[in-house]
Amino acid sequence: MNAILAGLRALDRRWIFLAVGLLVIAPLVFGFHIAPVVPSHRAKGFYDAIERLPEGSTVLVAGDYDPGTRAENYPMHLAAARQLMRRNIKIIGVELYPAGVPLADDVLRIVGAEYGKKIGVDYVNLGYKVGNELVMSSMGSSIPKTFPVDSRGIPVSQIPVMKGIENFQQIDMIVSISAGYPGTKEWVQQVVSRFHVPMVAGVTAVSAPEYYPYLQAGQLQGLLGGMAGAAEYEVLVGKPALATRGMDAQSLAHVFIAFMILLGNVAFLGQRKPAKG
């Protein structure tokens, strides 16, 4: 027994790396199915808030992420665009991460084609603007002055969907797809309470716990946390896609890491004295 523990303690961590890799690859390649995705009430809150909007409303979709967290944010972005376009809601996209623009363009193009929506008429992507929370606050003064042109360089005065859009008074809801700073936290601070706009957020799992206070205080109407949250939302929208496919690999990896914590504590049992503090 002691020999086994000693062996464990001396384990090269690259074996752990290998195990993680295999546990993620196997379910994706063999496509076995562990358990169905069951939506949480936070995901339902997100879904219902959008369902409650009347047709023809205008929603600001902030895609504040880049390829670094694409696996978590992109599926939510895609699913949110599907729900919005299915309900004939107009979408205005903005991105405060420079590398988020092509991802938002992809989302709008793909989903726009699915629902036969036209760029400029049913949706527009205003693109990136430098300045983080300053951009949000500035939009409260004037959206056309903050974003004089869209991501294609077309003046907003020539874009039908932007007609009559002055500031947040004409925006019925904000959908924040966020990876960190600047993102959901800053939208809450600079826009939600200040300009009284309702908001739902789809965020990376790392940042999700931070937003529960906002959710409980009513500053957010719904919250999707990480790829699991995206999978729940995909189920609600009725189009399981990228995130749902990843859930089996996700389950296995979680169990493995929990097991690693236990194994580590057994292996190193009594190795070091408990420290103070």
Binding site: G164, H196, A275, K276
Partner: protein, 381 residues
């Protein structure tokens, strides 16, 4: 006769239908019991908006057409509203102009129309009253802040509680000295203008003084030229302060690289080669917290961490012997710095916390007994 003439005039208008509807409703408004339509300036805005409210008696119309006119002008449709709705904000009016409104039922049924509202002007406000709570809370805090900073500047010192993390730092340096091994100080991965890095430089002053005194080898790898410059200055003068300038070596503080993971790989390399007895991870850390803490743990160093980055705290808590968490990290640096601005701010934060706790307790008790005015005051919606 009069009616016919008006009807003729209506034919020339482009929106003949809606005009006719308005006209009928106007005439009939005199005869049937229509419901009142209340128009008022939308409060707390920059003008350009009028809010309408109404309570329509049953049965309500399927839809309304909201019509608007300047006083003395003709009605023109603004929008279509569902019958179940009770309010509408018209954000497309001119500030200072008087408008009259009416709800016209669709399909046409003059009995279901509203009265014409009293003339109303949109006004631009000079103060947004929904933000009075923000003003009050900020004013209280800033008042306390400047009061305490002023006091601290005039030499007042308050007693603060001991911060166990500071004692742990001394203990760790002592242990390293006993074991005859070095200490490693990692000041985070942000630039020198980051407040966490500045706090780290203050803590570095203490660590380097003790290291100089005990003649323990101290290494400070940095990831930005700016931090490197300041850290070098801090360590050098600390050695001078304890009269050990001769013991200071120029390679103790190093600039490694600004690339995040390359920096981590290099610092981990130092840990594995030098096997320091104590690691200090104090500053702004991101994803690298986990890698540094793991390697440090595996070489058996005593680890003391401190950061205000919430996401990284769990990794430090499980892998380090002591973690200065968030405010504790700033407080530790404030106490060490003896800087009036920092001490005054610490004292002011504490005082405001007592105030906030009182508000929450009193507010909750009031709410439990059905009194919601304090909750209402803190509402921003």
């Amino acid at each position: 006769m009069l009616g016919v003439e008006r009807g003729k005039a209506g034919v020339h208008l482009p929106a003949a239908v809606s005009f006719a509807t308005c006209l009928c409703s106007l005439l009939l408004a005199l005869h049937v019991a229509a419901f009142p339509l209340k128009a008022s300036d939308t409060p707390n805005d920059g003008g350009g908006s009028i809010t309408l409210e109404w309570t329509a008696p049953q049965p309500v119309a399927k839809e309304w057409i909201l019509v608007r006119r300047e006083r003395g002008g003709t009605f023109a449709p603004v929008t279509t509203i569902e019958g179940t709705v009770h309010s509408f904000r018209d954000g497309a009016v001119q500030t200072g102009v008087a408008y009259e409104y009416q709800l016209v039922a669709q399909p046409t049924d003059p009995q279901l129309d509203s009265e014409v509202s009293a003339p109303t002007r949109a006004v631009a406000a000079w103060f947004d009253r929904t933000k009075v709570n923000v003003l009050v809370v900020a004013a209280i805090f800033f008042f306390l802040l400047f009061f305490y900073i002023r006091q601290a500047e005039s030499g007042v010192r308050w007693s603060f509680r001991k911060i166990p993390g500071l004692a742990a730092i001394e203990e760790a340096i002592g242990r390293a000295t006993e074991m005859g091994r070095g200490i490693l100080y990692v000041p985070g991965v942000q630039e020198i203008d980051d407040i966490q890095t500045i706090a780290s430089m203050i803590l570095l002053t203490k660590v380097s003084r003790m290291a100089a005194k005990y003649e323990t080898n101290l290494l400070v790898p940095t990831n930005s030229p700016g931090v490197y410059t300041v850290a070098e200055e801090v360590v050098k003068s600390a050695y001078g302060d304890v009269g050990r300038s001769d013991a200071y070596r120029s390679d103790q503080v190093r600039y490694i690289t600004s690339e995040q993971f390359a920096y981590v790989a290099a610092v981990n390399g130092i840990m594995l080669r030098e096997r320091p007895a104590a690691n200090f991870l104090l500053g702004a850390f991101f994803a690298e917290s986990l890698l540094l803490a793991e390697t440090g743990h595996s070489v058996g160093a005593i680890q003391i961490a401190g950061t205000a980055n919430v996401h990284q705290m769990p990794f430090f808590v499980v892998a380090c012997d002591y973690t200065l968490i968030g405010e504790e990290y700033y407080a530790a640096s404030a106490l060490l710095s003896n800087d009036a601005r920092l001490l005054g701010s610490l004292k002011a934060s504490d005082t405001v916390k007592i105030f906030l706790i009182t508000v929450i307790v009193v507010g909750s008790l009031l709410l439990t007994f059905g009194q919601s005015w304090l909750t209402g005051f803190f509402s921003t919606q």
